[in-house]
């Protein structure tokens, strides 16, 4: 098992290198000069040249990339073009906020998705099932930014229950958490339902019933664990969506996390900042997927056997 984990962690190196390369190139190809952003429209060509020289932007692009990636693997993500703060420091300072938001979104989605999916499968074709799947359909269809704005409109402006932006109050995380978690909740509920429906028709469920177990116990003990396997796959994919979704959600709610930091970085053509946020996202995504793969082994002994 440990051998497998280490193998997967080593495989991260080319992934990080590849992702940063793509983002690096796209950033440099996109219009807009960071020097102009930093010094303003009226800056003299000499000042601009000097600024570019100082930040190494006059080197050939591949050299620039090589310098950057060597720094990354030595733990140096550079400094921000805008205010010269260390990227590592900035990202690490923001990361707990993104983590908090993601956890809130995860709680919202998991706490709702499993019960909804399981109940609607067990009560297939009843009004409960219909209602649940209707909610899930809405949840999947709604764009994140729109849902965010609606929630702000209703719960902040009308009712005044939750703050509309920032992360200063204890309940600040509620609205962004719901906004971010809804899509995932809907997707997970639908997957859980279809997976459960398939499992409760399996022969081994009939065997479990024939042993004299109660319906509830059959579902809890025999069905859910088997139904979890395909749900885990979707879970991994949805966690990726959670990260990209956090970029939008954090912008809508002025949430001081990495997503918003990245958007600000893009707007200012702050290359090191964007790349630093990117690497953080890539690492999160990879670690999450590794955990999901390990969770398979925990749930399914057939997969466990393969990891030996």
């Amino acid at each position: 098992m440990w051998k497998y984990v280490i193998k997967r962690l080593i495989a991260l190196i080319p992934v990080v290198a590849g992702c940063t390369f793509i983002v690096f190139m796209i950033m440099h190809l996109s219009p807009g000069d960071p020097a102009t952003f930093a010094l303003g429209q009226d800056a003299t060509p000499e000042a601009i040249y000097e600024w570019r020289e100082m930040h190494g932007l006059n080197d050939p692009i591949l050299i620039q990339y090589a310098n950057y990636i060597v720094g990354v693997f030595m733990g140096d993500f550079g400094t921000s073009f805008r205010n010269n703060v260390s990227i590592t420091q900035e990202v690490m300072q923001r990361f707990p906020h993104t983590l908090q938001l993601s956890m809130a979104a995860l709680s919202v989605s998991l706490l709702l998705a499993f019960p909804i999916g399981i109940i609607s499968a067990v009560k297939q074709n009843t009004w409960i099932d219909g209602l649940s799947m209707f909610i899930a359909l809405i949840g999947i269809s709604m764009p994140v930014f729109w849902l965010g704005l609606l929630l702000v409109l209703f719960f902040s402006l009308q009712l005044g229950w939750f703050p509309s932006s920032g992360a200063n109050q204890w309940n600040s995380v509620v609205l962004p958490g719901i906004t971010l978690g809804t899509g995932m909740m809907a997707a997970m509920a639908r997957t859980t339902r279809s997976s459960m429906l398939e499992v409760i028709r399996q022969d081994y469920i009939r065997t479990a019933r024939s042993k004299g177990l109660s319906n509830g116990k059959v579902i809890r003990k025999h069905a859910i664990r088997n139904a979890l396997i395909p749900v885990l796959t979707i879970f991994g994919i949805q966690l990726g969506n959670l990260l990209t979704g956090s970029v939008i959600t954090e912008t809508v709610f002025a949430w001081p996390g990495i997503g918003r930091l990245m958007i600000q970085g893009i707007a200012a053509r702050d290359y090191p900042m964007v790349l630093g946020c990117m690497v953080m996202f890539v690492l999160c995504f990879a670690v999450i997927n590794l955990l999901v793969d390990l969770a398979y082994a925990f749930v399914d002994p057939r997969i466990r056997a393969q990891y030996r």
């Binding site: 022969d203 065997t207 479990a208 042993k211 004299g212 025999h222 088997n226 399914d300 057939r302």
Partner: protein
């Protein structure tokens, strides 16, 4: 069976059972007045083609017919003299696995892949017997030994076992609480012939050891000859011929039963051609009127398509449902040329 009066000798009685599956495509008439009787300690073979309603009959006894779409429309089932349709769900749960248990057809899919085999055997023991967790695992391992699997393998998962061994595990689960009635739904169909013989031998031994009454659902007349005391031949959800093993095998009366025997290869005369029954099982959503077998029957008469034939008894136990017979000619037979 005419002498139903002596209830105490009956382990299982099914009377006039009607089960339908109501689907969007139409109503599937799975069982249409099925009668089955098993005496205590005896084994009844339920023989018929795929789709005749054999498995539905077995599931009905456990009240596990999937609902929806399955609906039990009519009939009664008595288990050791008690009517099971009167039981509450809770009471039914205490009966399943204890008073009656079922061996399912496909061992590959009948075990839960995420639990060890001893988990799955101990589960039924824990449910029905007053034992601690440790004691039920000890007993689970004993059950494994009983079906010929080393108890030390109890901690392994189903995917680590071969098909034959999985079927043994399924049998161990079914027998773990020594049920008085065991329903075996084609327990050997999914197995190699060599393993089949082993599993059958084992079941015979266990049946004697626990004095279990058994309903052996099968389409294999060889298995019936090997293990059963009496036979019910089922066609389109009705028993069309029933009797003791010798009655049905040596004094076959119904043309369908005859056809089943003719479909077996003759080992003495290897040149002889098989005489399969022509046609297919009728669509259970649209059964023929009268005798459901008449479209495939070589001896069909006018009346066969109009009226369902009554039971005609050859002796106290052996009867057929066929218009070819009446009380005069049934004893002599010779209506069909075997």
């Amino acid at each position: 069976m005419s002498n139903v009066s002596d209830n105490r000798r009956m382990a299982l009685e099914i009377e006039n059972l009607v089960v339908e599956y109501r689907t969007h495509e139409g109503t599937v008439h799975a069982l249409n007045g099925l009668d089955l009787y098993i005496e205590k300690g005896k084994t009844l073979g339920l023989v018929g083609e795929t789709g005749a309603g054999k498995t539905t009959a077995g599931l009905s006894v456990l009240r596990l017919v999937p609902d929806p779409p399955g609906v039990i429309v009519d009939g009664a089932i008595k288990l050791n003299g008690e009517t099971i349709f009167d039981k509450t769900d809770k009471e039914m749960e205490s009966i399943r696995g204890k008073a009656v248990s079922m061996i399912f057809q496909d061992p590959m899919t009948s075990l839960n892949p995420v639990f060890t085999v001893e988990d799955q055997i101990a589960e039924v023991i824990e449910r029905h017997e007053q034992l601690t967790k440790e004691e039920s695992y000890v007993k689970a391992r004993e059950m494994l030994e009983l079906v010929g699997i080393p108890g030390t393998r109890g901690g392994e998962y189903p995917h680590q076992f071969s098909g034959g061994m999985k079927q043994r595990v399924v049998i161990a689960i079914a027998l773990a609480c020594s049920p008085s009635v065991l329903i075996a739904d084609e327990p050997t169909t999914a197995l190699d012939v060599t393993i089949q013989a082993q599993v059958l031998e084992m079941m015979k031994g266990l049946r004697e050891k626990y004095d279990t009454s058994m309903l052996m659902i099968t389409h294999d007349l060889g298995i019936v000859a090997e293990i059963c005391d009496s036979v019910s031949v089922i066609y389109a959800g009705r028993v069309i011929e029933h009797g003791d093993l010798e009655d049905v095998f040596d004094n076959t009366r119904h043309p369908y039963t005859e056809g089943l025997f003719n479909s077996l290869p003759n080992l003495q005369d290897r040149q002889s051609r098989l005489k399969p029954i022509q046609g297919l099982m009728p669509d259970p959503r649209d059964l023929p009127t009268g005798c459901p077998f008449h479209p495939r029957c070589d001896y069909a008469k006018d009346i066969c398509s109009k009226e369902r034939p009554p039971k005609t008894y050859r002796n106290e136990r052996h009867y057929v449902e066929c218009h070819l017979y009446n009380s005069e000619n049934i004893v002599e037979g010779k209506v069909i040329n075997r």
